[in-house]
């Protein structure tokens, strides 16, 4: 048996409330996230490595929106911190905040697993 996913990583009840208790849709969206997150994270990584503040801000903003829509509180927070640091031009913090975002995403993906429908 899988242990339940912590609501801090994936708040299933919040998502069910917002999306009208439609688990088929939720599973579809999770699968779509699993198919697409690597490309998004890799775009942010490139921007961090090349110190393109505007690209970091935009990438982190988009990822924050995705995380909010999918009820991923910790990934959302990590994205928001990176977005804000880029906005304020705090270049010294970017590497650390990006590493934190990557950790949060890895932990989340590990918890969801390859078959999202089975975790609902």
């Amino acid at each position: 048996m899988n242990t339940p996913i912590s609501a801090e990583r994936f708040d299933i009840s919040d998502m069910r409330r917002r999306l009208g208790a439609n688990d088929a849709l939720i599973a579809d969206l999770l699968r779509m996230f699993l198919d697409s997150y690597r490309a998004q994270v890799s775009a942010i990584k490139t921007a961090v490595e090349t110190h393109e503040l505007d690209a970091i801000r935009r990438g982190a903003h988009t990822f924050k929106g995705t995380a909010a829509n999918l009820s991923f509180p910790r990934v959302m927070e990590a994205s928001a911190l990176l977005e804000e640091a880029a906005e304020r031009g705090e270049t010294a913090e970017l590497d650390g905040l990006f590493a934190r975002l990557v950790r949060e995403v890895d932990d989340l993906v590990a918890e969801i697993g390859d078959e999202p429908a089975r975790r609902l």
Partner: protein
Amino acid sequence: MRVLIADDDPIAAEVLVRTLVPETFDVQVARDGGEALRVLQQPDAPSLAILDWMVVGDVTRLRQVLLNLIANAIKFTREGSVTVSIETEQAVRADLVNLHIAVKDTGIGIPRDKLNRLFEAFSQVDSSTTREFGGTGLGLAISKRLAEAMGGGISVESAPGLGSTFHVRITVRASADQPAREPAPQRTATPVEAPLRILLADDNLINQQVGVALLAQLGYAADVVSNGAEVLQAVESRSYDVVLLDVQMPVMDGYEASRRIRAAWAAREPSRPRLIAMTANARTADRERCVEAGMDDFLAKPLDINLLRAKLDAKATAGS
């Protein structure tokens, strides 16, 4: 590419023409760079007025299903044609008519082993298909749900290299001697009393999918664009009741798009689409910024189906 609507049956032609022309189809075909829609045979015989017997929400659903199927057919057909045909036949009961609509293309076709997953959300035949043709496969999943919501279904037959034919079968009420409107039958699905024409603008793909899926659950079809400049194009080429606008988008943000719509509609305010901001920032200053830009209302992001329903119900009531 030429898109044909072929039919000798005046009732059927009327359903297609009134469902698809001009509001849905011209826009879609023009967007894909094809020729304008041609109707082979205009209806000239007295009609059974099938659409008058369909629940208002069903017309919206049928239109969305056909739009999805036709857009899909156009997308996957580089050469050849897309033909839409329709047959009607008497159902078991005298007041019911079975509609069978077929969307046939001469496109790339679908491998046999992929057919059974085709109507699952976000399935694509393979990732190279996604790269070459774009899209997420959501259209077919939504079409299937909408057809089922109308008490019908969708099926497909296809052969790689030869093309695909999608079949939609639904049953509608019809009466030759009573063309006048009757009270709509009770429905279990969410009734849409006044179907709103909705445009959704968001640059985030997952947010778009969530928005479209929530609207579909509420019985609404929506067109989707990715930035403010595309919003301006869309509202000029087609009339909308509601525009749901993400405030932060590339190229042109939601604030600027709202200001321009307000300015462009200054002399025709009653026909202006209602502008609903979608914003993650609920602070008063952000709301004031939306008001200053001319937006009519706000929706908090991430979207919530109940809040969305409440806002749209208010618009539907206000607009009727």
